[in-house]
Amino acid sequence: MTKIVVLGAGISGHTAASHLRRKLSKKHEVLVVSPNSNYQWIPSNIWVGIGRMNREDTVFPLEPLYKRKGIGFIQAKVVTFHPEGDSDEEMPFVMVEYTSGDKKGRQGKVTYDFLINATGPKLAFDMTEGLLPGTNKAYSVCTYDHAEHAWAGLKALIEKLKSSDERAKILIGTGHPKATCQGAAFEYILNVEKELVRYGVRNKVDITWLSNEYLLGDFGMDGMLLTYGKEVMKSSEMVEMVFTDRNIRWIAGAGITKVEEGKAHYENLAGEYKTEEFDFAMLIPAFSGHGFKAYDKGNKDITEKLFKGFMVVDADYTPRPYEEWTVQDWPETYQNPSYPNIFAPGIAFAPPHSISKPRKSKNGTDIFPSPPRTGMPSGITAKLVADNIIDSVKHGKISLHHKGSMGNMGAACIASAGYGAFQGNGISMTTFPIVPDYKKYSKTGGRDIQKTFGDIGLAGHWVKLSLHYAFLYKAKMKPFWWLIPE
């Protein structure tokens, strides 16, 4: 019997656990450890944040599903890693702290044969002074709770504008000089704009985009050259076109360092310190590792073997200048080099470097996006990790046959640009590969131009809505769920 422990039940943890359970016989144990009792389809938080969906539309409880499917579940958070066991425990284990029930607050050891760390990011609001969702008029949509608060804040502002002649300022973007997830903020600003039109108050609001991207449309992926209809266009031009059309002002190359009541203080690449005022803001925080510690059998700290902020995997972490980065730096199997039975798919793995070109302000502050790992690569990497573990269990030795580098993987980003069966809008973008391969595709900005395209229209909204239903169907492991690709 083999015991596989999955830490985290987000897109990657839940994907890995469901594939493991489907393909491994019941004599092997699959156990999920996650602090939250619910699964949440994070991409639809955008619509919770504009009041067009309720949290109930985007979440479901994990325990009943796992019970039915034969997946173990512990509602707890991992605190420390012990990949060699300790003086009392022969088996490798993780120390967890229970987050609900009678055992809440107590700690316990969870042993494993294989470990999948799919704990995603820590939403590091603490890295920006004064940035805390729901305070200082600034909000987040990173969790369903945050998104609900954001909608309450936005709704109050809309009500105020409807009943007065006042004007208001809305600021949306990144809340830290090295934040990622620009795509989510991009979707939110377009949805907010559309809702303001619907409520008849758009003409009373100045909307501003503020982000750490050097150019619009960088999305932490160094931008893209894409086909748009019959034209070839830069993603910066496409986003500029959309913002101009929606009368959205933008500030690029800006890193927010402090938030006060209705004020965002930022530094730009020119080294200027400026302030942007707002009545409502949604700012994506920095994503960091969880700060886990690891210990060997003798209780010696071996954290650096497992973590570089996020978990160390088969990437090439040798520091090199941007010009020397290659797609080969990016991991293929997400296996920890020191402990071959530990893997980290999704956001949990430490990237070798950013994808966007690193830039410093005149004062030496790093202002550029960290690399995103969106839902699709999170699902794909989780599935390939599960497949390698399944092979390893079946063959009795570590097998790494399944590979998936972000330098050889396509992704689709369907950015919602407004909700509504016929009034909705979506900006569909695909890119191949996610990490640009400047050698292979030297003339087209590192991407295969046949597979990197953009499209705008109602169909994009329908695609995004279909994905919401399809991925929740898949996550609920309903009949033939596994036929829906990651």
């Binding site: 990016w330 794909i380 390939l384 580098s405 695909t430 499209d455 229209g457 695609v463």
Partner: protein, 43 residues
């Protein structure tokens, strides 16, 4: 110079009939791009 979305383009973007065909085309195209081809990059 910034590209602008013309009124005619906007009408096409919101036309349910045209967009239905776009929807089918988008799904096929997206699955073609993301559905296969992920592998390693090293020898």
């Amino acid at each position: 110079m910034t590209h602008l979305i013309s009124k005619a383009e906007k009408a096409k973007m919101q036309n349910p009939f045209i967009q239905f065909f776009k929807f089918v085309w988008l799904n096929i195209k997206i699955i073609g791009i993301v559905g296969h081809g992920h592998g390693g990059t090293r020898k």
